[in-house]
Every structure is written in structure tokens, then in C-alpha cells.
Point group: C2
Chain length 511, copies 2
């Protein structure tokens, strides 16, 4: 008897609880249907993807192409009838830089082409460099003396430990149900950082030596520095960039080359065979505008009391410079543009304002989104809240390639879990049903999260992302167009639901 009545009470409680959830999270299934129909039936993903990659080209922060990308996206937003289409500066970024020519080949012991790209914001060469490669083996400042006076006009390289191994794992995968379930679990960290104090001291010493080497090479008037990179089979990862700062001094021209080509030159020299390189880099500096920018556009809210509130979605418009930034992040931009196009095309009259942001200068430290948050939302250091802090319900971001959405990271926000579980229901059959409390970092939702605004990234299938992003081969072909069509539909739906919800999404406490 007692057991029975306990069970009855539990069932009653469950019914009340679930009806409350259901009452709160009413999903407009007709709208979900309309979003799917427009998104799948009239997808603009292919067209947007082509324009963002092939048509606009690489969109390095500060480059002419990124300026063109801003103009192009604004035109699109205007064409679609969005409101308040603006390009908004958050402050200074730095100098613009375009590659005008890049060529590198081995000339001796025999002619061989080299796959290589000028390091971002490097200076150009003084015409065609045609010189022997000097392998600099430097473990302390004293080693500089070995080379002093002998490097003028030469090509230099330093040893690097580039591992190129066969790929026994497939480069493209789809998460299995089991793996997705596993992604829900959270392990509590602790137990110390990645680095011991000794390792940190060693890293700092290496960095200091690297900096001294950089100065030394410049003083020696070295003709060109070549650097090996991660990647294989012709794929070249960008290792690091030069300086775009407005007080930038000249630097040694630097080309990042394919691991195999680096390896070949290294081995030849170590085996006593001199190597000669011919190379030319021409660059162009832009000093007419040092500002960084975001592109913004809106579907205005229509509810008297809620239209001042905002649901944001966004992705970064900038990319690295040797590919065309396909998966990183033309994919995210195309999906977010498509999501707002779907909503606009359907003529939705959202209660809250829907605002899309195409961020600038993400790759150099989330500058666009950080700048926006600092300008409009809150100061993460002083904890000063600004006008939009109280207004933004949520920010949705996409920046893990073009793979299908399989779920969402809620950054430990327990309160939104039942909401997203409900909102994902109409998309289970499209493969998206995992709500994980896990965090994910390194992109434009982070500045929002940092000031207490719910910011979300999505779990995406890892298709060509790990192998291709930040490389010369992050191009149109990397983008999975049908996966992106799915992603745009789901994001349009979540954005709509967030705009229509009675309350803003629940927040984690922040001051």
C-alpha cells in the first residue's frame, strides 16, 4: 500500500513536471514544418558556399577580400530585406595585407616545385631570391656566432620535428549513437595543468630564444626563412602569423612549406648535399583603415514588450589566407546566413529581434565577437553591464566545419537542457538529438558566455574538418552541402523558438 501510494505520488509529480515543461516549451510544429520545407526545398547553401569561398577568396583579417566579403554579405542581407544592415567597428585591429605573388622551388641539386605559402603578414622578398639554404642549428644565443656575417641574402631554416605518419584512421567520420551518448558525460577536471613548472620555464626560454633569432635574422638581412608545417600529402597547416600591428617593424620574409618538402631539404643538407632555393614573395600592405568590423543585420521583433530583446546567431567571416576558408568558416557563415534567410522568406514576425552577426578577425583572437561584447554587452573584467546585457536571450554560433548538426553543447547550463531536448524533438530524424552539458571553446560564443549570456556551439560530424581547417586545402570542396542544409534548418528553428519563448533562456549566474 505504502509503496503504491508513493508510486502514485511520483507519477503525479512527473505528470505535473512534464506538463510544466510542455506548457513552457510549446513548439510550433507548423512553423517547424515550414522551416524544413523552405530550408530543404529551396536551399541556398550551394550558392552561398560558392560565393563565400571561390568568389570572395581567402578572407584574411584586414585583407581586401575580407572587405569585399563584408560588402557582399551586406548586399545579400539587403537583397533579402533584412533590417538595420550595418558594418560595425569595434575598434582597431591592425594592418591589411594581401599576397600579390608567391613562388618557391628547389633549384639544386635538381629542380623541384615546393608547396609553400607566405606566412600571414610576412614581408615580401627583395625580388627573386636565388640562394643556398643554411640549416641553422641553434640551441643557445652563443650559436648565433657560428652564422654571423654569413647569412645575407641566404635562405635559412631551423630543424623541426615533423612527423608524417600513414593515416590508419579515416579522415571523415559520423558520430555513432554510442559516441554521442558518451559526449554527454562530463569528467571533473583537476589534478594540475598540462605543464609542469619546468616545462613552462623551458617553453619560455625557447620563446625568448626564438625572438632573439628573429631579430638576428633580420639584422643579418636573410633573404628568406622557410618553415615546415604540420600536414601531409600537400596539405599545409598555418603554423603562426607575422605581425599586423600598426607599429610593425620589417620582418624576414617567411614561407611555410609542406612537411615532405621541408623534410627533403633538411635531409639533403644533413647528408651534405647543398640545396639552392629560388623564391619570390610580393605582398601589399593596406594602411588606409586599421579598424576591425562585424556585419550585422536583423529581423526586427514585433512583440511590444519583447521586441527590444534579441536572439543572436553568428559565425566568423574571416579565414586564413592559403585556402578559401571553406570549413573555417565559410561553412558557418553560409549556414547562419541561410538560417536567417529561411526565417525572412517565411515572413516570420518574431516576438524578439533576431540579429545575425558575421564576425571579423576571429582567427587572431575572437576580436570581432569580443569587441562586440565589450562595446554592447558587458566588460568581462570590470563586470560593468552595458545596454544589451539584459536583452540578449541567447547567442548561437557555428564554427566546427560543415558536418551535420548532431546536438548542442550547453556549457554546463543545466537549466536549458530540458528546453533544448524539447526543441530538438522535431529534428531527431535529421540526426540531431544530443544535448550535452559539455563546454566547447575557442570560438565566438566564448565572449558571450564569459559575461553570462547563454552562448552555444553545436556538436557536428567531423567530416574533413580536423584535416582541413587552417590549411591551404580548406576550400569549397571540403564543405558538405547537404549537411549544411540540415544545420541551417535546425538553427533557424532554434532561433525562432528562442525568439518566441515567453521568457529569455535561463542563465548561469554572473555577478
Amino acid at each position: 500500500m505504502k509503496l503504491q501510494s508513493q508510486a502514485s505520488l511520483m507519477i503525479l509529480a512527473l505528470l505535473i513536471w512534464s506538463s510544466q515543461v510542455w506548457a513552457q516549451e510549446k513548439v510550433d510544429l507548423e512553423m517547424m514544418y515550414r522551416i524544413k520545407s523552405e530550408g530543404i526545398g529551396n536551399s541556398q547553401i550551394q550558392n552561398l558556399s560558392f560565393h563565400l569561398t571561390d568568389f570572395l577568396g581567402p578572407r584574411l583579417s584586414g585583407s581586401t577580400n575580407l572587405r569585399n566579403a563584408r560588402a557582399w554579405s551586406m548586399e545579400k542581407f539587403q537583397e533579402w530585406g533584412l533590417s538595420n544592415v550595418t558594418v560595425d567597428s569595434y575598434g582597431e585591429f591592425g594592418r591589411g595585407w594581401n599576397v600579390k605573388k608567391s613562388y618557391i622551388a628547389m633549384k639544386e641539386p635538381y629542380y623541384a616545385q615546393i608547396i609553400g605559402y607566405p606566412k600571414a603578414w610576412t614581408d615580401g622578398t627583395k625580388g627573386l631570391v636565388d640562394a643556398e639554404v643554411m640549416l641553422l642549428e641553434i640551441t643557445s644565443e652563443a650559436d648565433f656566432d657560428k652564422y654571423k656575417g654569413n647569412l645575407k641574402g641566404k635562405v635559412v631554416m631551423t630543424p623541426a620535428n615533423l612527423q608524417v605518419s600513414p593515416a590508419f584512421e579515416a579522415e571523415a567520420r559520423r558520430w555513432t549513437d554510442e559516441e554521442l551518448e558518451d559526449r554527454k558525460s562530463i569528467s571533473i577536471g583537476g589534478g594540475g595543468g598540462r605543464y609542469t613548472p619546468e616545462m613552462l620555464a623551458q617553453l619560455r626560454a625557447q620563446r625568448a630564444l626564438d625572438q632573439k633569432l628573429t631579430e638576428f635574422l633580420l639584422n643579418e638581412e636573410v633573404g628568406l626563412r622557410i618553415t615546415g608545417t604540420r600536414g601531409s600529402f600537400g596539405t599545409v597547416f598555418h603554423t603562426r602569423s607575422g605581425s599586423y600591428s600598426t607599429d610593425k617593424k620589417p620582418t624576414t620574409p617567411e614561407i611555410e612549406i609542406a612537411a615532405e618538402h621541408y623534410g627533403r631539404i633538411y635531409r639533403l643538407i644533413k647528408n651534405g648535399k647543398p640545396v639552392k632555393i629560388e623564391a619570390e614573395v610580393q605582398v601589399e600592405w593596406l594602411d588606409d583603415d586599421y579598424n576591425g568590423y562585424n556585419v550585422l543585420a536583423e529581423i526586427p521583433g514585433t512583440d511590444k514588450s519583447l521586441k527590444s530583446e534579441i536572439v543572436m546567431l553568428g559565425a566568423h567571416l574571416d579565414s586564413w589566407h592559403a585556402g578559401t576558408g571553406g570549413n573555417d568558416n565559410a561553412a558557418g557563415v553560409a549556414v547562419m546566413m541561410e538560417a536567417i534567410r529561411i526565417l525572412k522568406t517565411l515572413g516570420v514576425q518574431p516576438k524578439r529581434t533576431i540579429r545575425i552577426a558575421l564576425w571579423g578577425e576571429e582567427e587572431q583572437g575572437l576580436h570581432g565577437s569580443r569587441g562586440y561584447v565589450q562595446k554592447y554587452v558587458a566588460d568581462r573584467n570590470t563586470k560593468e553591464k552595458k545596454a544589451e546585457w539584459d536583452k540578449i536571450s541567447a547567442y548561437y554560433n557555428l564554427d566546427n566545419g560543415s558536418g551535420k548538426i548532431r546536438g548542442i553543447y550547453v556549457e554546463g547550463n543545466d537549466m536549458v537542457v530540458p528546453i533544448f531536448e524539447k526543441w530538438f524533438e522535431p529534428f531527431h530524424e535529421l540526426g540531431a538529438n544530443t544535448v550535452t552539458r559539455r563546454n566547447t571553446g575557442s570560438t565566438d560564443h566564448v565572449p558571450f558566455e564569459a559575461v553570462g549570456i547563454p552562448g552555444f556551439q553545436f556538436i557536428q560530424d567531423p567530416i574533413d574538418y580536423g584535416k582541413g581547417y587552417h590549411t591551404n586545402m580548406d576550400v569549397y570542396e571540403r564543405m558538405q552541402l547537404s549537411d549544411m542544409t540540415q544545420a541551417a534548418v535546425i538553427i533557424a528553428a532554434l532561433v525562432y523558438n528562442t525568439a518566441q519563448r515567453d521568457e529569455k533562456l535561463p542563465r548561469k549566474p554572473w555577478n
Copy 2:
């Protein structure tokens, strides 16, 4: 009773049969041990691999590098004390060709580097080509009129259907026991060829049109032709080559470019955005020696009645020109050189003569091995037998990359199966134990097989071979050095066993 006596008879028969096999195939286990010790303990594989790839460079048939490779390998053979080290011409091959410079980039709508390689034996450009790309959409000769008079100095391309898909399968694999077992099974063909008569007619018509297009482009004085290739992520497969024939007429310069870069140019043009290319190709023709050559060297036989008989091992020294021919076929050459070095170092006194052959001009149609067979072994057309037909016991070839040997293809020769099963026994723990009756084609054992000489290729683990061979990225890094060490040991053992065997290896009937 009856059953018992039958069983006894069977056991007796089995004992007699197996003792015969054992008697015949006595394996000198001490020698097997010594071969393993030298091959694994003092492996020269790394050094040979470095020299064949990085040091010598690409070894295109007729090129300066291939000439250097012949000289280098002869030096090595002499250094090791091999006998009768010779470079042996089988007749005329064609013109030599070296790339002296190659550069290609997109100049408009924005500057972008292009990964591309001159087609083998293409002519160079007339200085720097700087011109718009014309997309030629030609389905019949009549379409030529659309372009006539408008192509002078231009860059041209034709549409191509290049599929670039994510890799859901790993590029590198090791055969499982199950797969190896499966490789023993043979399916009897029949049921018609791959092509229907209609398909063949269509292929012929397309080829005829292609040839007319080639002439048309030459007459129009096109500046450069660009061709898309198979491959992705910066790996470029060679599609086809130009002509090395000694009566060769000039051709339109042609560069084969990465599928993604081809795709970008194609999509831009199809979307109405003009594309400008700048490119330069400088080549050098060698007309001082049109002959093709093989390099030969020996450990002379010591048995009075058997020393005139020969066991051959070999691999092709030539490669394609954009990589350094690592897996195809520096790997095979290094393994075969190492196998004979092991035997020579151990001071073996083989009954039969052991002869290594480094073939030339394999990639253009097995010219080196075909030429050798025609000159010394037999004429496959007239069936005329020559001096060595009766002398060669077996030819061992390696040309499927650098993956570990897992077994051998015996080309349907049932008679050698128990022999190889016995010979592989000491190598089971090194992963090699599969003797399959299957055929494998397309390399230098084929000319031997074609005139009735037992010719063998090996089952090798497919590590980076399918993705890398015939590409710009077939380089040193593709070579699996420890796998090659295993292969050299096994081949040294098989060659030794073949040299010591009482009889030549059994042959399939030929005339």
C-alpha cells in the same frame, strides 16, 4: 577392417608425399637466420630510400635524374662487390625531358597559388603567360568554330567531372587474416568484358575528338592548357603524358592542377566571373641519347652444372616527375638492392647466378623489362626462344609500394604453391604466410610470365600506396622503412632458396 586399412594407406601416402616435399624443399634454417640477422640488424633501407628519392629526385624516363640514378646504383653495386655490373640498352625509348621552372597562380579575381605540375614531356610556355582562362565546351568538331581565332595566347580548360569526396575509409591499412585468406580465392571470369560495343564506340569517338582538339589548340597558338586531376587535399595524380617520341611535334604547354583548384576556376567561369592565370613552364629536351636502359648486377653462381642458370630479382628505377617516386618505385628498388646486399654481405656462394635488374621506362609500358625479355629470353609473338629462356628459374618483382610483404601471387602456377608454402614458413611470425594462385598485373613480372618464365609479385599491405602513387606526393615520407626491411629479408630468402634448389621452379606450359 577395410576402413582401417584404407586409412593406413592414406596416411602412408601422405607421409610419402610430404616427405617428398620436405626432401625437395629443404630450407637452410641457419641461412634464414643469417639473412634475418643481417637484414634486420644492419638494414640499409633508410639510406637507400633517402638516396633514391631525396638525393636523386624524380626519375622520369629519359630524364637527367634517371641517368644519375643509373650511375648511382651501379656505384652502389660496385661498392658492394657485385659482379658484371652493367648498364644495358634494350633499344630506343625516346627523348629526355627536364623541368627547369614551373609556376602557376590565379591572378584574377584575386591572387591565389595553384598546385600544378607540367604534364610529362609537355613543351614550355613562351615566357610568362598572363591571360584569361577560356572554358572550352566542346562536344563535337562543330564546336571548334565557337572559339576559332579567339584563343591565341589564352589559357584554356575543358570541363571535367572531378569528384572530391570525404574519405570515410582510412588511407592506410594492413590486411587482416580474413582478408588474406580471402585473397586466396579465385573467381573464374567470363560473362563479357567491361565495355559494351556501344561504350567502346563512344570511347573511340571521344578519343578522336580529343585528338582533333589537341591539333586545334596547337594551331590556335593557345598559351597554356590546364587539366584537372584525380586526387584531393593537395595531392595531384598524373593523368597522362605528352609524347617523348623522337619525331615529336610541338605541343600546347599543359599543366595538371589540383582538383580543388581546377574546380574553383571552373565554378568561377561558369558563374560569369572571369579568371586570369599567370604561369610559366620552362623545360629542357635531351636529344643526345634516345636509348632506354636497365642496370644489371650479379652474384655469380658457383655450382658447376647450375651456375649458368639464373634467379632474377628486380624493380623499376624510373618514376613519375612531380614527386620523387617513393612508393612507386624507390621502395621496390631499395628493397631489391637491399636483398642482394644482404646475400652478398653474407658471402653466399649460390649454386645458380643471382641477377638483379633495375628496369628503365616501366611507367610508359614496362619498356625495360619487356626489352630485356625480348633481347635475352624470348619473343612473345613469334615464340622464338632465346639464350636465357631455358636458364631463368624465376623472376621476383616488387612494385606495390612499401608495405610489408604478406604473401605472394603465383599467377595460377599450382606447382609452386607447396614450394612457397614451405619457403614462407620461417617468415610467418613476420606476417608473411599467404600463397595465392591469383594474378596481379601491370608491372615488370608480366613480360617474364608472358614467355613462360615464372614471374612473381608480392601481396603487400596497402599503406599510402593507393593514395600516393603517381602523384606529386609520392615521396620519401610515404615509404614505410620497417616494412621494407621485412620485405628485403623475405626476398633475399626466396632468392637464395631459388638459387639453391635442385631443380628450377616448375613452369606453366608455354609452347
